[in-house]
């Protein structure tokens, strides 16, 4: 038996969560006032958790590195949030959302967690509407839905292309209410640099005030990490510049197991890289695939002509285009899940059909949608459906209404008008399904240390479906953690305030100071970005959309070597007693350099293809991912001083309510 105890409650799947809530310990309201909780990160998960815990009566200290909790990167989520409301009457149900999520995750997630997620999904929508989140509505005044990749129903609620922003502002508003009441003490521009363990339990953190450089000790009865994913290990990604793994990695070093680090989502519709100067990639919402058709030219000669500018994509005849997703996956077409769409794009580009200078771009074309909508509108308005210009104009209006802001963003960045010529897109790192291992209560292997949202590994398996990240973040923060944390804190009602002058705090603070001293006093010659970019290149080329044994082994040794070089030759300007972005970045990159190695090690260990993890050695004849039953487990890595010495633990995944099948979208 594994040392990993997932603590999944007994009983039928659909009753587990209700039963669990009835069974666990509660803390009475008077005692909650005696208990402090630290929440690190103020995105959807952290923000909603902080607000809810404060509402319940706990004393919350919340931390974020941004200047305001409202700027956490959840804000950038565009498309929407799933919920099994079945408002459209198209056959949706809790079970179906559960089923789609497990299947979408390529049967690498925990049944009980996912079912709970599907159960509470409907509460999220109710809650957010009550908070004043302005979801899109139909003319009848009821909520509108759209469909997303990998599913056959319309269950995605949205607020134009800014759903993440609106949901985060909802959580931020809930936090503000508690900050105003004094129940949340907010620490902005603070970065967590270590977890402090006392008697084996998480009892506080060491944080650095980014403005003054001061190192601070904060104690609490429990610590919650809602610190997001680690996709910036790839340097170029759709993550925010500041997104980092540091909090999760420090927790890992203090004993929290890191699960499935190799599961990374590469989003199919991002704006392609334009040059070496690029600092980040911009996502174009998956919702665009509702109406956009993805293609490359059928013939190499046309590819050449397009690249050298002698042929315009709009002039290429229909029969000379390869709508490869529609060709390969007739049932789901352009709405296949993200991992499938991304790999298909890579396959075409690797075969030499990429349509831009770098050969790494495919078309996302709205001409058909514009024509279809235009005809519809012309018909409804009783106008001439054969008038091409009229139809195009009407169609453009419809498309503008649906995606106007995205089209505008594309035009600003690329300087091409997507209403006139197809968009160019290419996959980019977007989300990490892996993260800190947590049990059913969302507690890591360190007692009292919790991980929620993208920071944990639990709900998405090997691949996340679109519009599910927002769902999971809010589910964890609003509806799961506030219950489960009580079970643990019920034992702490007599503990009293945790002192910060203990030897454990001393030790942790000294370690943080030593790390900072080392970086700031290093007499190197290369900037932090220099190393980060190099790490990103290794990650992208060898641990990216397709991986193989040889590359992964090389990646492991290259990353380890790069890490040594980093410590020898990195140069951090300025001092530690001031706002010093380079110093903050150096600390983050140092952690990415360790995580990257574990990432590659995990990918090497997993000799199968599943979701976002594609091993070239394991594919079907038609090039689809080949899952292997012997790998039906969660990999959880225990830190032992170095990534190369991490100890591998397995949590077996059992599917009692879903038949594990080949994942087909054909």
């Amino acid at each position: 038996m594994s040392i990993l105890d997932s603590k999944i409650p007994e009983g039928p799947l659909a009753d587990k969560w209700t039963k669990h809530k009835n069974d666990i310990n509660l803390v009475n309201p008077a005692n909650k006032r005696l208990i402090d909780v630290i929440v690190v990160g103020t995105g959807l998960a952290g923000g909603s958790a902080a607000a809810t815990l404060a509402e319940l009566g706990y004393n919350v200290k919340a931390f974020c590195f941004q200047d305001s909790p409202r700027r956490a990167h959840s804000i950038a989520a565009q498309g929407g949030i799933n919920a099994a409301k079945n408002y459209q009457g198209d056959g949706d149900s809790t079970y179906r959302l559960f089923y789609d999520t497990v299947k979408g995750g390529d049967y690498r997630s925990r049944e009980a967690n996912v079912h709970r997620l599907a159960e509470v999904s409907t509460n999220i929508i109710d809650q957010c509407v009550a908070q004043g989140v302005p979801f899109a509505r139909e003319y009848g005044g009821l909520l509108d839905n759209r469909s997303f990749g990998g599913v056959l129903v319309s269950r995605t609620f949205y607020a134009k292309g800014q759903t993440g922003q609106q949901l985060l502002l909802g959580a931020y508003a809930a936090m503000n209410r508690q900050i105003g009441r004094g129940k949340i003490k907010m620490y902005t521009r603070h970065e967590m640099l270590d977890v402090v363990k006392v008697d084996g339990k998480a009892r506080g953190i060491i944080a650095r005030n980014l403005i003054t450089g001061e190192i601070e000790r904060h104690s609490a009865h429990a610590v919650v990490l809602g610190t997001g994913g680690y996709g910036n290990a790839f340097y170029l990604s759709t993550y925010a510049m500041g997104s980092n793994v540091t909090a999760a990695w420090k927790a890992h070093k203090r004993g929290a197991f890191f699960a499935n680090p190799c599961y990374t989502q590469i989003h199919p519709t991002c704006i392609p890289v334009s040059g070496d100067h690029q600092s980040k990639l911009t996502l174009m919402s998956e919702s665009l695939r509702n109406d956009g058709r993805i293609w490359v030219p059928k013939h190499k000669k046309d590819v050449e002509a397009i690249r050298n500018g002698s042929l315009k994509p709009t002039d290429l005849a229909e029969e000379d285009r390869d709508y490869y997703l529609e060709r390969r996956y007739p049932a789901f077409g352009n709405l296949v899940p993200r991992d499938v769409a991304s790999r298909a794009a890579k396959e075409r580009c690797d075969a030499g059909y990429g349509v831009n200078q770098t050969g790494e771009a495919v078309y996302l074309d709205f001409a058909a949608a514009i024509e279809r909508y235009g005809k519809e509108q012309a018909y409804v308005k009783g106008l001439n459906v054969d008038d091409k210009k009229l139809v195009t104009d009407l169609g453009k209006k419809v498309v503008e209404n649906k995606y106007g802001n995205l089209f505008q963003m594309y035009e600003k960045i690329v300087d091409q008008n997507p209403y006139e010529t197809p968009m160019m897109i290419y996959p980019a790192v977007h989300y990490t399904m892996g993260g800190l291992w947590v049990d059913y209560n969302l507690m890591t292997t360190v007692p009292g240390l919790y991980a929620i949202g993208e920071a944990n590994f639990s709900d998405h398996g090997a691949n996340r479906l679109g519009a599910s990240a927002l769902m999971q973040g809010l589910a964890d923060g609003y509806f799961v953690l506030p219950y489960t944390i009580g079970d643990y804190l019920a034992h702490d009602i007599r503990t009293g305030e945790i002192p910060t002058d203990s030897k454990e705090f001393d030790e942790a603070e000294q370690k943080v100071r030593a790390d900072i001293d080392k970086l700031i006093n290093n007499e190197g010659s290369k900037s932090v970005d220099y190393f980060h970019k190099r790490l990103g290149k290794i990650m992208w080329n060898k641990c990216g959309m397709a991986r193989n044994e040889k590359d992964l082994k090389e990646a492991i040794s290259e990353i380890a070597a790069l890490r040594d070089e980093f410590y020898k030759d990195v140069f951090v300007p300025g001092t530690q007693d001031e706002y010093n972005e380079e110093l903050a970045k150096a600390g983050r990159v140092a952690d990415f350099l360790e995580l990257g190695e574990l990432f590659a090690k995990d990918a090497l260990e997993r000799e199968e293809s599943a979701g976002g993890h594609f091993r070239e050695e394991y594919q079907t004849e038609s090039g689809e991912a080949l899952r292997r039953p012997e790998f039906q487990y969660v990999s959880a890595w225990e830190y032992k001083g170095k990534p190369s010495e991490a100890v591998h633990h397995k949590e077996a995944l059992e599917y009692e309510n879903i038949e594990v099948k080949e994942r087909s979208y054909k």
């Binding site: 804000i75 004043g132 509505r137 909520l143």
Partner: protein
Amino acid sequence: MNLTLKIWRQKSANDKGKIVDYPVSGISPDMSFLEMLDVLNQELIEKGESPVVFDHDCREGICGSCSLYINGRAHGPQTKITACQLHMRSFEDGETIYIEPWRAEAFPVIKDLMVDRTSFDRIQQAGGFISVNTSGNTQDANAIPIEKENADKAFDAATCIGCGACVASCKNSSAMLFVSAKVSQFALLPQGQVEATDRVLNMVKQMDEEGFGNCTNTGACEVECPKGISLENIARMNREYLTASLKG
């Protein structure tokens, strides 16, 4: 492209600060404005000088971190975008570009181009919310239909990213567009009605205490707002405030 940058450098909140000239070369028109600053910063680091500090995070125009006053305009010469979405193709080779921080007493400079916008947070804390507990026991989301026109207007107001360009552009450093966007979002929704009176009074009170100036309806904020938030929201807040004053 070769450019001359005139950048505000200020070591700390108490430092006096001044404009410093930096020539940069080899800038590609495809770079974003912030990537151009990255190039400068890498050069400064190589020379052992301290890099220019500016707020930035998502670099896709939604987090509201970036706050650069470029050539006399918030977020630069283009409208409806943030500085991170601004690309160098909007400038001419050889151009001189002024880069300054947001200027307002309510947004004190922290370092170089980075300012403290926590006054915005405090305004929100004064009432920018609907007091509903996150129990999940609220009524069904479709229980109250909301007229699409109002829902859309509420959404348009809610798109504010809290960057502060409105304050920076306003000759009076007024925060009315920001505050009115939040007040409007809730005023347009039935959920927001219950607390409407207290909300607008408290938020405006906090806004005044933070030291923002008075709105004189120049409309600069609306033009420079990266999300195009309408002046109608300010009128709506005025209305809300005046009726609330009569009630309260």
